[in-house]
């Protein structure tokens, strides 16, 4: 894997994180391909012997199981000006680490593993921290690398927050 490509992917992930921190969602959507699949399954605690497919079975409950249209629909809420629980604004920091870039069978696509720590704080002292892994496919386009698939594995069983007004 050439170092330049790894550097390019890292910078792309950091740029994406910065756009999310700054709520620049239009530009963030610009980093997604038309056929994006954005998935964060809800994972129950089960015994090791239990082979229920909880991650890849798309018919099960998921925090996110979205295509581009679905994501845009969610984001339209913020454009209305009446998303009361976003005003005053939530303060976000996304930290992205453990980036691994792996070639795929498709020449224009790379598999990218990363970990995230997303911190939220709002109003007086509401705060929470979401930590987990991501498994992405990034595709090379004329406008740089774009995200075409993301699987997010959050490490909480009970989401220790009242909502998920955040993209990971």
């Amino acid at each position: 894997m050439n170092l330049e490509l790894i550097k390019t992917i890292e910078q792309t992930l950091y740029r994406e994180a910065r756009l999310l921190d700054q709520e620049r969602y239009k530009e963030w959507v610009g980093m997604l391909t038309e056929d994006i699949h954005y998935h964060m399954p809800g994972i129950e605690t089960r015994y090791r012997r239990d082979k229920t497919e909880q991650v890849h079975d798309l018919s099960r409950m998921a925090f996110y199981n979205d295509n581009l249209e679905d994501l845009k629909k969610r984001l339209r809420r913020l454009e209305s000006g009446t998303a009361w629980s976003e005003d005053p604004a939530t303060r976000y920091t996304h930290m992205i680490t453990n980036i691994e870039v792996v070639p795929t069978e498709k020449e224009d696509e790379v598999l990218v593993y990363s970990n995230f720590l997303a911190y939220r704080n709002r109003n007086e002292k509401d705060q929470d921290t979401l930590i987990g892994n991501r498994e992405d496919i990034w595709r090379k386009t004329a406008e740089g690398y774009k995200l075409t698939k993301r699987m997010i594995i959050l490490k909480q069983n009970v989401l220790l927050s009242k909502n998920l007004n955040v993209y990971l």
């Binding site: 229920t52 409950m61 339209r76 009361w84 629980s85 009970v158 989401l159 009242k162 909502n163 007004n165």
Partner: protein, 455 residues
Amino acid sequence: MKIEKFKDNGRYDSYMNLDEGWLDRRVFWEQSIYEREMEQIFARCWLFVAHDSQVPNPGDFLTTYMGEDGVIVCRQKDNSVKVFLNSCPHRGNKVSFADAGNTRRFVCNYHGWGFGTDGALMGMHEEYCYDAGDIDKSQWGLKQVAKVGNYKGLIFATFDEEAPSLENYLGDFRWYLDMLLDNEEGGTELIGGCIKSVIGANWKFGVENFIGDAYHAGWTHDSGARAMNNGQPFPAIDMKNSYHASVNGHGWEFGTEGMGDLVLLGRPKVLEYYNKIRPKMAERLGEMRSKIFGSVASASIFPNVSFLPGISTFRQWMPKGPTQFELRTWVIVNKNMPDDIKEEITKGVMQTFGPGGAFEMDDGENWENCTLTNRGVVTRREKLHYRSGISRRIEHPELPGIVYQGQYNDANQRNMYQRWLDLMHAESWKDVPEQYSPRLNGKETMGPKAGFKAG
């Protein structure tokens, strides 16, 4: 200014007046009131514990809570369901740490006491440590609930031997529940998995919101409505042809326009599907119920289950102290729907009423602050206003229950708190007064004529 100190003597008449329409905020705050709720309400009422579809096969189990008591719900070989405490009678440890699964036995990690899927004690590690006469195994199984019941796929349990039958507990509310549970041949199922989240609010705020608070929707959820429905605001409410209906503390608020909630789900294919089956629905449930289903509506089963018929979110508010609850969210669909409609509904629910949903995100913050402002000792003594629509009670020939006209109303909330008050004061179920005399006692709940006022 007279400072009135809070003293909990088990009487709460001075903390609400439902004829005048107000509540004292301390019912959402005080630890001693919360603990009494656990005894008087959660240890006595029928509580939802599972849907049939979550435990279809013998040995299938899930873990949940009845109040703050952890329980296991397990399907038996004879297809019945048993519900017992998830706590070993030896030292008290949990015997299952999974949310769900399939098993032949539950074994405690501490000393290896093993229990059958019926909760009976089968044996233990190093059994020779017990001499003859030390233990009668038949007496030391996992503690069973008093009764288990099932209404059209919803499994309920109660810790109280004296509780009325589930049929009487739900009473005429079954007429309304049939719209959710029996609007199509084959009944319902829950989509696999469960989304759990934590909200720092009193559990009653969630229940009362779904039991009757259509009023908040147009304002709180303006942004959600516009997101899901092409920039359109929340649908207009017809105050003449919309209602509150309450039975035994349960409540359903609804319009009769047939499509409001279905539109807000933001999935046109689902609206199309229901419009297609609506004539059949009218044959099953009557014209009136087929027009109510899909309208702007929300409902709660006392004490802590809520749902949106049409939007298809089904949820339970698990109390975790006076200022916190755990919200469990499921998606309820008709078993006989094609897979693509089930998928559309599942996606729609998680985009509206999951933790990342366009509607839900604005609710949690409201309820948290409705609760936490009461940290202030002066604030906490102030009243809250619950008088909206207090003079709009009507007798409706087709709608059973205590019915109020106009969906913007606090009627169901007042009736829920009346039930709360009655249970908090009652020594036993015999002391819980009837709020209303049922139309459906011993009668069929289905069909076009069910629920009509006699004569």
